[in-house]
């Protein structure tokens, strides 16, 4: 599965996938300090969305997205 190239597309797709199948979705973040790389993944075991970045500004965006996902997890 290929990586998304734009954050906005990834975030939009992630929220859509999550609202379609909230129970099965899991969200994984992988941070590698030496490589300076952050990989995000959201999957429901059918569709897999991935985004890879080396940009510091994406941490802020990750914070926002994880907050949205976390909130919708507990309010489903």
């Amino acid at each position: 599965m290929t990586y998304f190239t734009s954050w906005d597309e990834f975030a939009k797709a992630a929220e859509r996938l999550h609202s379609a199948n909230p129970e099965k979705c899991r969200f994984v973040t992988k941070y590698n300090h030496t490589k300076g790389q952050l990989v995000l993944k959201l999957t429901d075991d059918i569709v897999c969305l991935q985004y890879s970045t080396n940009q510091l500004q994406d941490v802020k965006k990750l914070e926002k997205l994880s907050s949205t996902l976390l909130r919708s997890i507990v309010t489903q």
Binding site: P22, E23, C25, R26, F27, V28, T29, K30, Y31, N32, H33, T34, K35, G36, Q37, L38, T53, N54, Q55, L56, Q57, D58, V59, K60, L62, E63, S66, S67, L69, L70, R71, I73, V74, T75, Q76
Partner: protein
Amino acid sequence: MSTVEQHIPNDQFLQKLTAFYRDSKIRGPRSVYVTMKPYDGRTKAVPKGSTFKEGDEVSCIFRAKWGSKKIATEVKAKEVNKFHTQYSAIIIAQMVNLEKRKKTDEEKKKTATKA
């Protein structure tokens, strides 16, 4: 796996997670994984295709893995705001080895012509 996963309290989880991030910079495995997923409190396998029962309180599981070390915690619905505030403080403080800002093509050209 037949063993039931041990959930540690939220604050302990966050402490250990910080240690994972810190240690990954200086020794051992280099990647830290954090997973979040919904959880309905069951500890046994359920038939394929079954869904969460109506009325069950859904909480959120956070799992973190660094090398062979694994930790997990259950975040209750009412703890979510508090937990997320602390969690974001950790990732902002720890995920620091990333590039400040992507140079746009125009800026790249500028520096290229200068040099």
